[in-house]
């Protein structure tokens, strides 16, 4: 496999995306086809490199290469990202309402740029490459979330996402600095070998960055705000790409976490708690996309947990299966939003009956999310559970509870979607239509078609976590001998999921205020971080006005005073001297004018006399 394909893989979407962005309105007509074609090419290339596993490196910064490599983990994730991106772009190109048709060129350009950044991140073999992909990913995600920049709150949502993840990203720089200080060549595989203090610093930095990106506690709130972006954006960013990259990074550096001793535990607990708490948040949501967002954070909690308990096989399987599932669900939400103009659960009551294909696909996705056997997330979650079980019973309990909670929120949506509404309810539902945007009342055939492969993925990708593939995957990603779930466990968890589903269908779900409002995380951050910083800035501004500015003004006043003194001296003494000299020169000049009579012969006479005088002088001297 030639490394050239790897370069093409990342430069093709990057160059095309930048080109579309720069072309602007001119390229609107071709943007969709170009985007889809590029994504298709990327998919083909991704599959190619996944099979060929090339690695390249070029000198980038002093002491570190820009390295890309496709190891087993990347070989699994790269095609996943590419396929999801392709399907999402096809869906977006097929949409006739919503946000995308407003500026297709910008949308597809940014999406392609984002895709290129994700591909770099996935394939990154060194920290500089990782940072590069990471940063471009963050920047493009901001632009994509704030795609409808005319709405201030959407742009603000993008800013929140960007600022939060950026703040967490600093950890990556910290890690890079620690790696440099520790004498490493900034290769990801070299991080576990760092000397003690630097290794801990690097692990902490990577952990913070990954948790931030993956919307784990305490950073989860930004994901809520990010739901203001277009649905295809959510489908890509919050399923296979950006958020997933946080989990992916932790899977990548799982050896580093394990090497420190404490970081793995922190990651495991953070993941488990997120899975539980955000699951509860999801249960309380009344907005489909908000629910899906919370569920994304929760599901990625399992991935983070897997990284923390050194079960990269299960984590990878969870990542891939969740990507398919969540992309499917976000696209479904987007399709309904475009068609019906609402994403309120109340407004979507009975929506599954309107378009059967969409409804069935949504059901498959939701069942998978719930962990119902034999769908994908049931198997992957169990594999992680098997790993947790050996490490800490407490953690196992929390994890199990989180799995049950996920069945609860999935069941809540499922019930609402398939409900056969009464006439009164139908009126209620129709009142909610078009409250968020004017709906088109139709889902394009292409968009419906796209959902099918995703649904198939959501249903079947569980094989990655089942024998015989599970052991092979675990061995490939470097965790041979990872514990596998026993049939009993599998059956047990499946039964648990089905029981919870049944309970939800029967009794409904609670909606506590703390969960509806995402644990008040947003407010807490405002109080604890934003307000103090603003106060500090105001204080600094006052300091600037009161001290620095006054100093400058004082210096200027002093200079003016000195200048005044100098001016007095100049006008009295120097001026007088100059005048005196000028007067003397004038007198001399007046004298000098006297010989200038204008009469030629007098000039001659003067010359003769002068020359005679000179001759006499010469004779006298010699």
């Amino acid at each position: 496999m030639s490394p050239v394909y790897l370069w093409v893989l990342i430069t093709l979407p990057g160059v095309l995306g930048a080109g579309l962005c720069l072309a602007g309105r001119v390229a609107d007509r071709v943007a969709g086809p170009v985007g889809v074609t590029a994504a298709a090419a990327v998919t083909a290339l991704a599959i190619g490199v996944a099979l060929g596993r090339p690695a390249v490196a070029v000198p980038f910064v002093a002491g570190a290469d820009f390295g890309l490599q496709v190891d087993a983990l990347a070989a699994v994730v790269l095609p996943t990202v590419a396929v999801v991106a392709l399907l999402v772009l096809i869906f977006a190109a097929a949409e006739r309402g919503g946000d995308v048709p407003r500026a297709p060129s910008r949308f597809f350009g940014l999406m392609l740029l984002f895709l290129a950044a994700v591909l770099i991140t996935v394939a990154a073999g060194t920290l500089p490459a990782l940072v590069l992909g990471w940063e471009v990913m963050g920047a493009t995600s901001y632009a994509l979330i704030g795609f409808r920049w005319q709405d201030v709150d959407r742009v603000a949502g993008g800013a929140t996402a960007l600022l939060t993840t950026r703040a967490a990203d600093l950890g990556l720089y910290l890690a890079a600095g620690a790696a440099l200080a520790g004498g490493s060549a900034l290769e990801l595989t070299g991080l576990p070998g760092l000397p003690a203090p630097w290794r801990d610093v690097a692990a902490a930095g990577v952990l913070v960055a990954a948790l931030g990106k993956a919307a784990q506690l305490p950073f989860s709130f930004w994901l809520s705000r990010a739901m203001l972006g277009p649905s295809p954006v959510s489908a890509l960013l919050h399923s296979a790409a950006m958020v997933a990259m946080g989990g992916y990074l932790l899977l990548r550096v799982a050896p580093l976490l394990a090497a420190t001793g404490w970081a793995a535990t922190v990651a495991a607990w953070a993941g488990a708690l997120t899975a539980l708490v955000l699951g509860a948040v999801a249960v309380a949501q009344q907005d489909l996309k908000q629910l899906l967002a919370a569920s994304t954070a929760a599901q990625l909690g399992f991935v983070v947990l897997a990284a923390g308990v050194s079960a990269p096989g299960g984590g990878t399987a969870q990542l891939v299966a969740h990507a398919a599932t969540k992309a499917l669900l976000f696209l479904v939400a987007g399709a309904w939003l475009t068609a019906l103009g609402t994403k309120q659960l109340a407004g979507l009551r009975g929506a599954a009956r309107r378009w059967p294909v969409v409804g069935v696909c949504a059901t498959v996705g939701l069942l998978a999310l719930a962990g119902a056997p034999p769908l994908s997330l049931w198997a992957t979650k169990d594999e992680i559970l098997a790993a947790v079980r050996d490490i800490s019973p407490a953690l196992a309990v929390v994890t199990l509870a989180a799995a049950a909670v996920s069945a609860a929120y999935a069941g809540k949506v499922l019930v609402l979607l398939w409900i056969r509404p009464s006439a009164e309810v139908v009126r209620e539902v129709e009142d909610l239509f078009d409250t968020e945007e004017p709906g088109t009342r139709r889902v394009p055939r292409t968009a419906q078609t796209v959902l099918i492969p995703l649904a198939v993925g959501a249903a079947t990708l569980g094989v990655l976590a089942l024998p015989p593939l599970a052991a092979e995957l675990a061995a490939a990603v470097g965790a041979a001998g990872e514990p596998e779930s026993t049939p009993v466990e599998l059956i047990g968890s499946g039964v648990l999921a089905l029981l919870v589903l049944a309970a939800v269908a029967r009794w409904g779900t609670p909606a506590p205020g703390w969960a509806v409002n995402w644990l008040y995380l947003d407010r807490m951050v405002t109080r604890l971080v934003v307000d103090p910083i603003l106060w500090l800035a105001a204080a600094l501004a006052r300091f600037d006005d009161a001290v620095v500015d006054r100093g400058v003004t004082g210096a200027a006043d002093g200079a003016v005073w000195v200048a005044g003194q100098a001016e007095r001296i100049e006008s009295t003494r120097i001026d007088a001297t100059v005048r005196g000299v000028a007067a003397a020169v004038r007198r001399l000049a007046r004298q000098a004018r006297r010989p200038q009579t204008g009469q030629l012969y007098q000039y001659y006479l003067q010359v003769i006399l002068l020359l005679l005088g000179a001759a006499v002088l010469l004779i006298l001297v010699t």
Partner: protein, 100 residues
């Protein structure tokens, strides 16, 4: 025939030229005075060549003197023509623009 005697002749020519340059009012006549002075210079230079240093360098000096005469004549005629055209006069007394 000695150097001194030839130089005295040259001095005589020069002095006559000086008289002309000082006394004449007409531009062209003034130029004649200047020419006469240079005539004396030529004679003196040749005398020095013959009696003191019979080298080709002396001839170069003479060539330079002749060139100087040429320049003087050309510029003198040009200025005189200009003066005559603009003032309808060829008297140096009327061209006193350089009065200080």
């Amino acid at each position: 025939m000695t150097l001194q005697l030839v130089l005295v002749v040259a001095a005589a020519l020069f002095s006559v030229g000086v008289y002309g340059a000082l006394s004449q009012q007409v531009v062209v006549m003034v130029m004649m005075g200047l020419e006469l002075m240079l005539n004396g210079v030529i004679l003196a230079a040749v005398a020095c060549y013959w009696f003191l240093t019979p080298t080709p360098t002396a001839q170069v000096v003479l060539l330079v003197v002749i060139a100087a005469m040429t320049v003087e004549m050309a510029m003198g005629f040009a200025v005189a023509t200009l003066l005559h055209r603009s003032r309808n006069s060829d008297m140096t007394d009327m061209a006193t623009d350089l009065r200080g």
